[in-house]
């Protein structure tokens, strides 16, 4: 087990989950290889808390989100929701649990039907919930109030709103079915700075009021440091470091975590530029042997190039995938 949390406190546990996408090519579209998008990830989301999943593009963080929600089928590994394994559930058995896990996306427009008023989009969720027709309008008004939109919004169409307002609609839609877990996949990345702050405040406020648990996926370390209780740092389909936000930000152990934190430009003038980490992220189609980070690692040794590295506990609840720490 990853931490000392008792099972009752854990809302969602992911164990050694894997997802390989086949790459086809050639004359008969034969499988040429696999993209190892997620390669043995363990995670734990504690009730009422926020787990941050950080990493650069292509590290597999969004694939993890889709696996957790069972929008994608995992190749191996287990997903345990509320002490119940859901990995092998059929679509039908999954349906009552789907209600409890919702997702908000980076671009809410893509998840809203342009020909449906906001009110009718929200009512769909309420219908699935089995709420009586006469009570639905009242609930829509409550939901809009909850996310800070005026009541008139229910009669308007998605295109009539600004980006920040649309993300509020996305949140209201997710909350309409009263979930316990909200997966937030880069929910503020497309928004302006002043609007980002509004949405972050809203997410924090909703978490307290509705005791929601969040899986918060982001590439923005400042946001993750502000919002999350625990963090997992991903690189090429694997978790490199996992621990409390304090662990990760104050005593980062893995060279990748250190490099990632050092790359964020300081907001105080006069500190100069962040030191660059050399090289590009390798393709997940041909990840390097041994440690995934060996090609860019400043403290690489021969052993890192040969042997696969496993996550090991550095401290209570602080796990690192590196020999050298």
């Amino acid at each position: 087990m990853m931490t000392s949390e008792t099972d009752q406190d854990v809302l969602l546990r992911v164990e050694a989950i894997k997802k390989y996408f086949p790459v086809r090519g050639g004359f008969f579209q034969r499988i040429k290889g696999y993209i190892k998008a997620v390669d043995g990830v363990n995670l734990e989301i504690v009730k009422g808390k926020t787990l941050g999943l950080v990493g650069e593009s292509g590290c597999g963080k969004s694939t993890v989100a889709r696996l957790v929600l069972k929008l994608l089928e995992a190749d191996s590994g287990r997903i345990i929701y509320n002490q119940k394994e859901i990995t092998k559930l059929t679509e039908r058995e999954m349906r009552p649990i789907r209600r409890e896990m919702q997702i908000i996306f980076q671009d809410p427009v893509g998840s809203l039907n342009p020909r449906m008023t906001v009110g009718s989009a929200l009512k769909e969720g309420l219908m699935l919930l089995g709420l009586e027709k006469k009570n639905r309008s009242e609930r829509v008004a409550q939901l809009l109030y909850l996310v800070g939109l005026p009541e008139e919004a229910s009669r308007m169409y998605p295109h009539e709103f600004s980006g920040g307002q649309r993300q509020r609609i996305g949140i209201a839609r997710a909350l309409s079915v009263e979930p316990s877990l909200l997966v937030c996949d880069e929910p503020i990345s497309a928004l302006d700075v002043s609007i980002q702050a509004q949405i972050i405040n809203l997410l924090k406020d909703l978490q307290e009021r509705l005791s929601l648990s969040y899986l918060f996926i982001s590439h923005d370390l400042n946001v993750v440091g502000y919002l999350c209780d625990r963090c997992a740092v991903m690189y090429l389909g694997q978790v490199m470091e996992y621990g409390s936000t304090d662990n990760i930000f104050e005593t980062p152990m893995h060279p990748y975590t250190k490099a990632l934190l050092a790359s964020v430009p300081a907001r105080e003038p006069g500190k100069g530029l962040p030191p660059p980490l050399e090289g590009d992220v390798p393709s997940p189609l041909n990840p390097p042997p041994g440690c995934r980070f060996q090609g860019r690692c400043p403290i690489v040794e021969d052993r890192c190039r040969r042997e696969e590295v496993h996550l090991h506990a550095h401290d209570e609840g602080h796990l690192v995938r590196c020999w050298k720490v």
């Binding site: 002043s194 702050a197 400042n222 100069g272 530029l273 660059p276 980490l277």
Partner: protein
């Protein structure tokens, strides 16, 4: 900044676009300058007019629907707005070059990067094939592309995002310009790659004694590279000054709101102050302060009169009489 020594001096730039019979004011009398060897940042949120300002300097505002209604763009004493297309061609690329946010849309997918960089050179300079190849290799080497002679024949899709942006920088450098305008060049990149490109731009700027006009919404990037900054809101410059002065003692409620909106570890557990309301649309021009509808400090006059710049010393000015009358002299 001494106006006479400025390389680029934009005065009262006003640009509108005609859409569905309505005028949309993208830039509303913005003035800014870039001195020789200086890195100047324009900061603002989407729709504040920062990109349109850059495109106006390059003469790339499409007309119609766009129109530069007023203002002067003085580059080395010449007003770029009064030049003919041929004269502008001599400036664009050769004296002022631009790097865009998304290199994939600026690179041609069916030509190798070697050909594309060579084209950027031959537009302005006639060279023998051997000299041309040598120059392209030098440029690729200068922007840190590993093994340039192998990369010469690569197509844009074979490069990573960071390498494509390096190729864009190489093309911008092709004719040894005096000024590079970079419009959100690292916004689409990962943080570790962003750090690489920022370091590249900085070293190139220093080695080649260039000036850099850098447009971004990322205040962290601004703090780490800028000498001076201009904060834009709704087409107007609302505050300007040395980066240290503006960050440490912001004098406009919008700049203060922006800085207070930033989440980070130090602010954990406290709600972010942020700015209420939404970024305004561009249709219609309010007569008063453009920020007044969202401003927590607004008073009655703010709605009526467009605020003038008020001086806080050392070239630090801000368009807010409310903050000025309360805090100046304290």
């Amino acid at each position: 900044m001494d106006e006479t020594s400025a390389l680029l001096n934009v005065e009262g730039l006003t640009v509108w676009f005609q859409a569905d019979g309505e005028r949309s004011w993208a830039v509303n009398g913005a003035s800014f300058s870039v001195g020789r060897g200086e890195t100047v940042c324009i900061v603002g949120e989407s729709g504040c007019g920062k990109t349109v300002s850059a495109l106006s300097i390059m003469g790339l505002v499409k007309s119609p629907p766009g129109r530069i209604a007023a203002g002067k763009i003085m580059f080395e004493g010449k007003n770029l707005l009064s030049l003919t297309d041929e004269e502008m061609q001599q400036i664009r690329g050769r004296r002022i070059a631009m790097v865009f946010q998304e290199p994939l849309t600026s690179l041609n997918p069916v030509f190798t990067i070697g050909d594309q960089i060579a084209e950027a050179i031959t537009v302005h300079e006639k060279l023998t094939p051997g000299a041309l190849r040598k120059k392209v290799l030098e440029l690729l080497w200068a922007v840190g592309i590993p093994s340039p002679d192998e990369r010469l024949g690569s197509y844009p899709h074979q490069l990573s995002g960071g390498q494509r942006q390096r190729v864009m920088v190489a093309m911008a450098l092709a004719c040894e310009p005096d000024l590079i305008i970079a419009d959100e060049p690292t916004t689409a990149l990962d943080v570790t790659i962003q750090a690489q490109i920022l370091n590249l731009l900085k070293s190139i700027k220093e080695n080649r004694k260039l000036s850099l006009l850098y447009i971004t919404h990322d205040l962290g990037v601004v703090a780490s590279i800028a000498d001076r900054i201009y904060v834009m809101y709704a087409g107007c410059v609302v505050e300007q000054g040395d980066v240290g002065d503006v960050f440490l003692e912001p004098r406009h409620p919008y700049t203060r709101g922006l800085l207070a909106s930033l989440p980070d570890r130090a602010r954990r557990g406290k709600p972010l102050v942020g700015i209420p309301g939404y970024v305004p649309g561009r249709f219609g021009r309010p007569s008063g302060c453009p920020f007044e509808p969202r401003c927590s400090e607004a008073e009655k006059e703010c709605h009526i009169e467009f605020p003038q710049f008020l001086d806080w010393g050392k070239g630090h000015v801000a368009r807010c009489p409310v903050v000025y009358s309360r805090e100046k002299g304290r």
